[in-house]
Amino acid sequence: MTDDVILQVKDLRAYFKLDEGLLKAVDGVSFDLRKGETLGIVGESGSGKSVTNLAIMKLIPSPPGHIAGGEVVFMGDDILKMPDDGIRKIRGNKISMIFQDPMTCLNPFLKISTQMIETIVLHQGLDKAAAKEKAIEMLKLAGIPAPEKRIDQYPHQFSGGMRQRVMIAMALSCEPEILIADEPTTALDVTIQAQILELINELSERLGTAVILITHSLGVVAGMCDSICVMYAGRIVERGTADEIFSDPKHPYTQGLIKSVPRLDKVSTQRLYSIPGQPPNVINLPDCCPFFPRCERAMDVCKTKYPKVAELGDKRTVACWLYGEGK
């Protein structure tokens, strides 16, 4: 089982030194990614989802940010210990990223062809003509009609959904091992969202790419992911397969999240549930369970100590005093 794990994140910590204090954006996150697996990372805004993935690529803006500890083992090497040159060979080539807002992620001054060909030439060592052919092929796979004509256009001539397709084509053009999709559908309308997710799914299956899908939409992870990490205040509070998380959520936060999604299959006359309160400010957070002020089942111990991570089965963990030895 372990030999097809391609990315292993161990106790990753990314801190930001701000004037107000130390912001622990990611505080001890661990997970494994297997070949071809789709992993969802869910959480509220500011829970550290995006920073986790920037840290994996060592793209944390520094200063003010720095990686305070942990390992990111990709194909046997720790990315965090690599020199910049080595990381640049991985970025875009072995691990690539799709960003949230396709409107701003393409350089408005360069043709699509220039931007795609550059990446392919840089990483794959193809000549320009071959790279262009490859780029056209990828655009076609990503569902861009008439790619041989569209490729010579500028980003402003594409709609939002089309640009996200271009981004996906670009990200997958070097056939990476891992695709990190950071809220790839947030900026798109609902019908396009479904198409884009379908596209990511289909292409990753075809190319055998593992996907890390960052989102705050539970609906998206339910349909897409094999396994799910739920993040809260910079830590993973619950981890498991999609089935386990949705059918049997353990952590009160996960339970709250799932309860607060409107269901079409259940007629209800009640108001939609919402978790009371606001996510905590993670600057100078004390060593307690960060969720206890909002938790319906909070106990005294929650206020004094962060819970130990309880192993409930294979790859199934939860960080809550209700489980494991603290129970």
Binding site: M57, L59, R88, K89, I90, R91, G92, N93, S96, M97, F99, Q100, D101, T104, C105, L106, N107, P108, F109, L110, K111, E118, T119, L122, H123, K140, L141, G143, P145, A146, K149, R150, D152, Q153, Y154, H156, Q157, M167, M170, A171, Q195, E198, L199, E202
Partner: protein
């Protein structure tokens, strides 16, 4: 439904008609062409460039040749000999009248000299080809053709504008993008140096630099250096600001996630995106270089004789402006028209390259 299903593909194609790629530059060009004043400015600037830099190939008279019989001739389409003779005879008549009225004998010497000149001119007028010349814009106090002097003066003035703008843009871009991209103490150092230079009076610094650098035959070169050393300040600040706002933009982050290095990010992503504003600033700065050079030349710190710039021509013209107004008007009008054209062009470029003014139709 799979996305690249054949039917789906065809259906999408019908809605996605092919649009010809238009680069942002082509788009800006289209908007520039719609601005009539900018187009006019562009034509005028173009004509100035062709005439001044092609002056050696065009049939103009020499700008250094002095002709004592042709001093201070007014603009005329008649041959120089005829104009000069007419003027000498006028003065002879004036003098004769003055002698009769005042009875001053000392004026007789002047009369004699003028009579001699008339005799000399009458003897040469049909044989010497120089008296067949036509000075359509008159001559200056040494009998040099004003047209040729204005054109060659323009050559130097425009060169100063061009070289000053290019040097300022170069230094400004390099230091501005360095400070903006790297940040930290380098940015601080450059920023404080710029502040320091800003706080000194511009003209004073230029004059000090000019007097410090070794002068001599290369005074134009010294002038270039002096002006360029001061004028990169604004551009470097503008570029720095642009780079800082762009370096945090998502497409730069995306490029970095694709494995692009610093060099590629600066030259491929940051600079092209700030090029518009650099061009605008440079075009608008161009006239101010010419103005500065004229000012320095006017103070006698500019180009040395026999070369001339518009500034030195104006300053020479001022000395006789009541008697010989064309000596002032010709270079002054030439310079004003050019500066107007440059400013219109700069304004047009600003409107055309401004990403906010997307008045496409």
């Amino acid at each position: 439904m799979p996305l690249n299903d054949k039917n789906n593909d065809r259906a999408t194609n019908e809605f996605n008609q092919y649009v010809k790629p238009v680069s942002l530059w082509a788009d800006a060009w289209k908007r520039l062409r719609r601005n009539k004043m900018a187009v006019l400015g562009m034509w005028i600037v173009g004509i100035y460039m062709v005439v001044t830099f092609g002056a050696a190939l065009l049939p103009f008279k020499s700008y250094t040749e002095q002709e004592m019989l042709h001093i201070n001739l007014p603009p005329s389409f008649k041959p120089a000999g005829v104009v000069a003779l007419g003027r000498l005879e006028e003065r002879k008549a004036d003098l004769e009248e003055a002698i009769v009225k005042s009875g001053r004998p000392d004026l007789k010497q002047d009369l004699e000299r003028i009579e001699n000149e008339i005799v000399q001119l009458k003897g040469e007028i049909d044989t010497d080809p120089k008296h067949k010349r036509v000075y359509i814009l008159g001559t200056d106090y040494l009998g040099r053709d004003m047209l040729a002097r204005t054109i060659y003066g323009g050559q130097i003035s425009i060169m100063i504008g061009l070289i000053g703008t290019l040097t300022a843009a170069m230094i400004g871009i390099v230091l501005g993008s360095l400070g903006g991209y790297l940040g930290g103490w380098i940015d601080n150092l450059i920023g404080r140096f710029v502040d320091l230079m800003y706080s000194l009076p511009y003209m004073l610094v230029v004059i000090i630099i000019m007097s410090m650098l070794p002068t001599g035959s290369n005074s134009i070169f010294v002038l270039y250096i002096a002006i360029a050393m001061i004028s990169w300040l604004t551009i470097s600040r503008v570029v720095r600001g642009q780079i800082i706002s762009l370096k945090n933009s998502e497409f730069v982050e995306a490029a970095r996630s694709m494995g692009a290095g610093s060099g590629r990010i600066i030259f491929r992503h940051l600079l092209p995106n700030s090029l518009g504003i650099i061009i605008i600033y440079s075009t608008l700065q161009f006239p101010s270089f010419i103005m500065n050079e004229s000012f320095l030349s006017f103070l006698g710190l500019g180009v040395s004789a026999p070369r001339a710039s518009w500034g030195t021509l104006v300053s020479e013209g001022v000395q006789g402006m009541q008697l010989y107004p064309w000596r002032l008007l010709v270079p002054a009008v030439a310079m004003t028209v050019f500066l107007f054209a440059m400013n219109f062009l700069g304004d047009g470029l600003r409107d055309a390259l401004d990403p906010q003014s997307k008045n496409r139709n």
